[in-house]
């Protein structure tokens, strides 16, 4: 088990009278890809937002040994990066400008330094979007936009990254690309927490899985031990058909 990137204790989030999160506790380790799965409305997105500190929550969230509640917004952004499922960005900013947003927590009101520019370049290289640098964000395909949002998160240089359904509505090759990217991030020592809908991807591509239902984490452990018939039946009410599964990988010799 690697060092602890993020720990949450009894996190409760209320929207009016409704409890969207009912006190889950969890840890995310550096060097691992941790999946969050669960049916629609089980609280996955809310959990990510609470961990990123962008919705008010009760309970405690630690980034390493620091209590998130004691940190400024910019300090939080430098410790945990968040990739939304869908961005609200609809202005014609260039890809470079969008990625540079990730450096705001470093330069604030001041001008970006050379270091900020270099961090953005590295992030674009890591997410393979450097060739899109000068394109307006709004003209990109869904898959390209997703990678640019990942690049923006990487530009924060936060050691932990939270991603909300980064593979939603992507074709199989792009899905594979995202998983390879997450694996590479973990291998370079980052803590990765990713919300996924595809259970086969969670089982094949991630190290640990947190299974959510109704605002709680009902099972957690090694992904291969969590995505099993019993849990799937309990939480989703469907049967897991092992024989019907198909998987994908890049042809041998491809990068």
């Amino acid at each position: 088990m690697s060092a602890e990137a993020l720990r949450a204790e009894n996190v409760v989030v209320r929207f009016g009278a409704r409890e969207a999160l009912r006190g889950p506790s969890l840890t995310v380790a550096f060097g691992e890809v941790t999946a969050v799965v669960g049916p629609n409305a089980s609280g996955k997105t809310t959990l990510l937002k609470a961990l990123a500190g962008i919705v008010p929550y009760e309970g405690r969230v630690f980034y390493g040994s620091e209590d998130a509640a004691t940190l400024t917004r910019a300090a939080r952004a430098r410790r945990v990066a968040y990739v939304p499922q869908k961005t609200e960005l609809d202005a014609a900013q260039t890809v470079h400008e969008v990625v540079m947003q990730g450096r705001y927590a470093h330069h604030g009101f001041g001008a970006p330094s050379r270091l900020d520019g270099e961090a953005a370049e590295r992030a674009m290289t890591e997410a393979a979007v450097t060739h899109l640098e000068r394109r307006p964000f709004t003209t990109l395909s869904g898959g390209e936009q997703r990678r640019v949002l990942v690049a923006r998160a990487l530009a924060t240089e936060a050691p932990t990254i939270l991603l909300d359904e980064p593979t939603a509505s992507l074709d199989v090759a792009h899905v594979l690309g995202i998983h390879e990217l997450l694996r590479a991030l973990a291998e370079r020592g980052r803590g990765v927490l990713v919300v996924l809908h595809a259970l086969d991807d969670a089982r094949m591509q991630t190290d640990r899985t947190l299974l959510m239902s109704n605002g709680r984490i009902v099972a957690e452990g090694a992904s291969t031990a969590i995505i099993v018939a019993e849990h799937v039946r309990d939480v989703y009410g469907v049967e897991l058909v092992e024989a019907g599964a198909i998987g994908f990988r890049r042809p041998k010799g491809a990068a």
Binding site: R78, P84, H96, E97, F109, G177
Partner: protein, 353 residues
Amino acid sequence: MIDAARIDTDGHVGDGAPAEGASPRGVPFGVVVAGLVVLALVAIGASLLVGRGNLSDPSLRSTLLALRSYRTATAFLAGACLATGGVMLQGLFRNPLADPSMIGATSGASFGGTAALVAFDFLLRGHAPRFFAPEMVLPAGCLLGALVPLALLLVITRWRSDRLVLLLAGFLLSSLFLSLLAFLISVAQESWELGRAVVRFSLGNVGGSGPRQIALIAPLAVAGILAAFFWARPLDVLLSGEQEAESLGVDTKQARTWCIAWTALLSAGAVAVGGSVAFVGLVVPHALRPLVGVGHRRLVPTAALGGGVFVVACDVLTRVVPGQGELPLGVITGVIGAPLFLFLLVKFRKEER
């Protein structure tokens, strides 16, 4: 490297800090600024040369030029204030329809100015203390009037934070003060002179400007434009929405409070010296975005310049359009601004597809 195959062969890594706010049309930023400066010089020149009174008469020349330069400076600064306010609000609300009039400050200032005129007429005429400059009654009323909707809106901001509530609250405050203003205008009609003064103010004009008006608006304009420039980077990040901006380290509540407050002050200052001048805050940023991009560090100074040019040019038109006396400034900005805005809207939407 992951997915390296998808990087174009000509994909290059920049020099560390490529230009921000690349123009969608590839017009270099310097060219846009130079163009605006030329337009500003032309508009200012025209404003000094055009109007009633003969400049070739040596006994009138210096007086005419002095009066026209006050007027030109006031028009320029009022336009700069309104356009800068428009940039801040459109960025903050991520809404291209946002305009300083939508947060109630413009109508609050109009109401305050009119209330001050009416109160001065009824209560103080002939009894005003000697240190009191009568022509500053109206601007003082405008500034105080704008503070009321601003305070209400900031209280609402603390209480409910979503954008829609804020926009609707601004709209409602605006309507409320417009109704109160209508009431005052009806009261003011009791006296011919007061009625004329109120109507003249509510239609917008910079004709009677002097050094006092400039002393009021110039520091406000400079401070407001600097403030907008200061908030440019958080506003850039806010283009991604409030939650994403928060996750990237922006204190969105603070940004909202300050940008609304500065916009209210800028628009109150513009109303105080120029009356109700429509469409500047809406049209000018829209016209500039295709040329300088959406980045606020470029949008703020160019909009300030462009707003100044637009209002000075409109003020020149109030003097050259034939008719009895001068046309109200607010009529010209609206008559030019509305079709221009429609044109930009249709052109852009078409190009985006």
